[in-house]
């Protein structure tokens, strides 16, 4: 911070706006509360009192308009795939997707013979973090979410990207 540092009183912190923005984003990524199959139960457990997602700043929102993160928790059938895509499109930027469980990452148990199951949600929407497991423990989900927070923290929304 070169020239600005130590020029103000002690209780003033000097930081780049860019960094401040990504820091504030990363500490409160509200997630979209919807589940498509059994993995959703673990997501609920992660959000409930024992694992308490709120301590890392994550609050479930029931509208895509208010959510920053979509946790795709569970099997995505072909019928649901179109709806998942629509919901993703309804979310406001910046938006992130966590694919939770082997179903959402690759089709899971329905990989070989599930004629009506989408073989990974990344076929229809871009995914930032994959959490493997069938179902993943809440700890695994939390680890994935912390990874996502790390990713958001390293973003520089105001810096123009070099081509």
């Amino acid at each position: 911070m070169g020239i600005l540092e130590h020029r103000f009183q002690d209780n003033v912190i000097v930081e780049k706006l860019d960094k401040l923005l990504s820091w504030s984003r990363s500490t409160s990524p509200w997630f979209f509360q919807f589940g498509t199959a059994c993995c959703a139960i673990e997501m609920m457990a992660a959000a409930a009192s024992r694992h308490d997602l709120m301590r890392i700043g994550m609050i479930p929102r029931s509208s895509p308009r208010q959510a920053d993160v979509m946790i795709v928790a569970g099997t995505v059938t072909m019928k649901m795939a179109l709806r998942v895509k629509k919901l993703y499109e309804q979310m406001a930027d910046p938006k992130y997707v966590v694919a939770m469980g082997s179903c959402a990452t690759s089709g899971g148990p329905y990989w070989q013979h599930g004629y009506h199951v989408l073989k990974g949600v990344d076929i229809v929407i871009p995914v930032d973090v994959y959490v493997p497991g069938c179902p993943p423990r809440p700890e695994a989900l939390i680890e994935g979410l912390l990874k996502l927070q790390e990713q958001i923290l390293n973003e520089r929304p105001l810096t123009r990207k070099m081509a």
Binding site: M78, K79, A81, G107, Y115, H116, L118, K119, G120
Partner: protein
């Protein structure tokens, strides 16, 4: 000495069974005391089960006889009655396990099965379908009467080329979704069903997944359906 002991124990057990535990507890000899107690427990145990066993036996005997005669006669009776009322509807005279019908008068027969006082099948417990091969689809109905507590199974086969069965959705309301599922999975058309749409798969899905010759479609709204990520295994 041994005989004496046995006699003594027998006496003590008798007293114990009557509820008097003092004499047993007062025995000085530890071995004898424990023997007596063991004998008492044994006696108590053997006294109880006899009663309950007898009871269970009676009950099971009764129910098995009743069930057998009832259900055997029931199916045969229904078969005969159907043959009388709706001649030509019974496909197979052998009605030991189920009643095989033609689809033609199924709606009338179903209404009669429900309203006939001696049968009064007021509950359709399950309705499902099956592809039994050789170009034949079959719908199966499990009926139960809450009034008489008896049940039966109706089967109706149709050709895969013209799979039409009259709907009984207006007789048993529960059949609404049952028939929609059978339609969804096997493509059996239930004529006069008031809302025959797919229930699980999307409305614009192609094919009938539980048929033996089912081929998965290649794409659905531009999304590839079969697995495509190679090299994951």
């Amino acid at each position: 000495m041994n005989e004496d002991q046995d006699k003594l124990i027998a006496e003590l057990v008798e007293k114990g069974l009557a509820g008097d535990m003092e004499p047993i507890n007062e025995i000085e000899d530890r071995v004898l005391r424990s023997k007596a107690k063991a004998a008492l427990v044994k006696a108590k145990r053997s006294a109880k089960p006899q009663e309950t066993e007898d009871h269970v036996k009676q009950v099971s005997d009764k129910s098995s006889i009743d069930d057998k005669s009832l259900s055997e006669n029931l199916n045969e009776n229904i078969g005969e009655m159907v043959n009388e009322k709706f001649p030509g509807s019974l496909v197979n005279e052998n009605t030991e396990t189920h009643i095989q019908l033609t689809p033609d008068h199924w709606f009338e027969i179903a209404g009669w099965l429900k309203s006939e006082p001696s049968l009064s099948f007021d509950s359709l417990q399950c309705q499902t379908g099956i592809d039994i091969g050789e170009n034949t689809l079959e719908a199966r109905y499990n009926l139960h009467s809450m009034k008489h507590n008896h049940c039966t199974e109706i089967r109706i086969s149709v050709s895969i080329n013209k799979p039409v069965i009259p709907s009984v959705e207006q007789i048993w309301r529960i059949a609404d979704w049952f028939e929609r599922e059978t339609y969804d999975m096997l493509g059996i058309e239930f004529s006069d069903h008031r809302d025959l749409r797919r229930i699980l798969l999307p409305d614009d899905w192609e094919g009938w997944p539980l048929r033996k010759d089912y081929q998965v479609q290649e794409t659905y709204h531009g999304i590839e359906v079969p697995k495509m990520k190679e090299g994951w295994e």
